[in-house]
């Protein structure tokens, strides 16, 4: 039993990652129908940028901030030049485009930073463990949960308490209406994409410290994030959150009892949820889906 608690904490950490990545994916998908297969690449990019900064002596937190901003800038440039022209077409094209970008990105990472993992350890201040009550928990993991929770909170605040957030939510419901109201939809799309990439970037830097940094690091997290979106339901932030945590905790707890099955739990969960609720936990009932 006492082995369960740290495993659940691990599960929450993992789940928080899945959730935040899934939310970013979901935001981008909901507004423009873009399935961003390059999302993982942005995760990895942020990790490598932070790595480079830290190597040159930058403080961890500063590196986190700067690399997030840089990654967002690159993301916005990509969105504006490559993805925007595809919005008026069927989503297959943006899907293929981001797929191509992911291929390019992976190779570029390999070229610049080498095919192997690079040493990325959490800052000294966050290493070691913290004691809460009876349990000893790794400090870095607690910090991760804290940062991700803050990011989530900031996102919710933005969406539900600011005017731009209101416009974003409105646009998801009715794109044409927004344009008809004279709102600059181009800016809206960019902002939306930027938020999604920002979340990915933060997650990327933190994940590098946890699971290591290599050219394929982000892609490894991408599949569970997609499954989280499927489980949680399209168009639902709450769904991504709950789904992510469910997945993360499910995986971690399974590792404890049946380590070989920890990956299959992901797919079993997905199948079970879809059998019971085809639209996902919090998904909306569309005409077909």
């Amino acid at each position: 039993m006492e082995r369960l608690i740290p495993e659940i904490v691990n599960g929450i950490v993992l789940g928080a990652f899945y959730a935040i990545i899934a939310i970013g994916l979901s935001l981008i998908m909901n507004l423009t129908g873009t399935v961003n297969l390059a999302h993982g690449s942005f995760l990895t990019l942020a990790g490598y940028l932070a790595f480079t900064l830290i190597q040159r002596g930058t403080n961890f937190w500063l590196a986190l901030g700067i690399s997030a901003i840089l990654t967002v800038v690159i993301g916005l440039a990509v969105e504006r030049t490559l993805i925007q022209p595809l919005y008026k077409r069927i989503p297959l094209y943006s899907l293929l485009l981001t797929f191509g970008l992911a291929l390019i990105a992976e190779e570029v990472f390999r070229l610049i930073w080498g095919p192997q993992s690079v040493p990325f350890s959490p800052p000294a201040s966050l290493q070691g463990a913290t004691i809460i009550g009876d349990t000893v928990l790794p400090t870095f993991r607690l910090a991760i949960v804290a940062v991700l929770a803050v990011a989530m909170a900031m996102l919710l605040l933005f969406l539900y308490r600011t005017r731009q957030g209101l416009r974003l939510r409105g646009a998801v419901l009715n794109r044409e209406m927004m344009a008809a109201l004279g709102i600059n939809t181009q800016m809206l799309y960019m902002m939306n994409f930027g938020i999604g990439i920002f979340l990915a970037a933060i997650a990327g830097v933190l994940a590098s410290g946890l699971i290591g940094l290599s050219p394929t690091m982000g892609n490894g997290l991408l599949m569970p994030a997609f499954i989280t979106v499927v489980i949680g339901g399209m168009g639902s932030i709450a769904g991504s959150l709950v789904g992510g945590l469910l997945l993360g905790v499910g995986q971690s707890v399974t590792t404890l009892y049946a380590p070989a099955a920890s990956e299959i739990v992901t797919y079993v969960l997905m199948a079970v949820v879809l059998l019971i609720r085809p639209r996902g936990l919090f998904g909306e009932e569309g005409l077909f889906g």
């Binding site: 998908m29 129908g33 399935v35 297969l37 490559l82 022209p85 595809l86 008026k88 077409r89 069927i90 989503p91 297959l92 094209y93 943006s94 899907l95 293929l96 485009l97 797929f99 191509g100 970008l101 992911a102 291929l103 390019i104 990105a105 992976e106 190779e107 570029v108 390999r110 070229l111 599949m223 997609f226 499954i227 979106v229 499927v230 399209m234 070989a260 990956e263 299959i264 797919y267 997905m270 199948a271 879809l274 059998l275 085809p278 569309g286 005409l287 077909f288 889906g289």
Partner: protein, 335 residues
Amino acid sequence: MKRTLDTAGMSLLAIVLLGMPLWMNVIQLNVSLGTSLLLFGLAAASVNILVGYTGFMAFGNAAFFGVGAYGSALFSHYIMPDNMILATIVGALTGTLSAFILAPFLIRRRGIYFALMTVAFGQVYYFIAYRWSNVTGGEDGFSISRPHLFGPQSNPMDGPAYYYYVLIVFVAVMAFMWFLVRSPFGLSLRAISQNEIRVRYLAINSDRMIFKALVISGMVAGIAGSLYSMSINFAYPLLMDWHQSGDFVMMTILGGAGTLWGPFIGAIIYTLAANVLSSKTETWQIFIGALFVACVLFFPKGILGFLSRPNTTSEDIDATLDRVHADALAQVEPG
């Protein structure tokens, strides 16, 4: 004019295909590359059924292909070696079954949600091949020796012989595709891609049509995969990975989705390009990725698509389709 072009094109195709071992010899490549072109052409054709004709973004066909590959490999290794034909059939059946299992889940969704699910569910098969290592060989894959065609007494099939065996199957499957497109079912699929709601309002259960399309797509991909593992004498998990699916989709788009021969043309171009690039540079993946980006941005109709409809942009078509769809969905009065 179109008639002459068609006949000329088909004659050229026949010459190329029938003489493949010869051409490969001339350019100093292995004939198995020619075999691969045929099989990737079939895999792309399987994608075309869903993407090109039904208008569904299928990003998991490599899973059906891979299951077919393992099917024939495992069968010929564990159960009945030296029966090429039976191995082919078993592989095809397993590929079909793999699609049949997923279809009930997939038909409940549309659009990008459908696409997401094809990726996610496709990965289940990849994961099984990867993890079930005592049977499948896991990450390292699974070697086989190519079964004999007429039992262990006969001569083993060498490269060229196997190429012609595959060519026969290829022609048969492409003929099947030809009939499919012309059949009432083909019309139903094309209609679904343009206005699924209207299809349902003509008393057609579109879910059932899509189910059928998925299973047929799985069958074609399964046949291709089944023959592929026996071509390279090897089955490995990455055959099923969603990256492989992406490649198949790219081949379809490159050659022209919704045309009969587009996928095959796309498969030829893509495979040859990848081959040439990977032998010339280590960073070939950048060029392949760039090919994806360029094709999508500048050449979305693909080669045959462009040739058959030079004046419409895909934007025109997509815009019309979107409008019809949106209008139908927006049939709710405000307030």
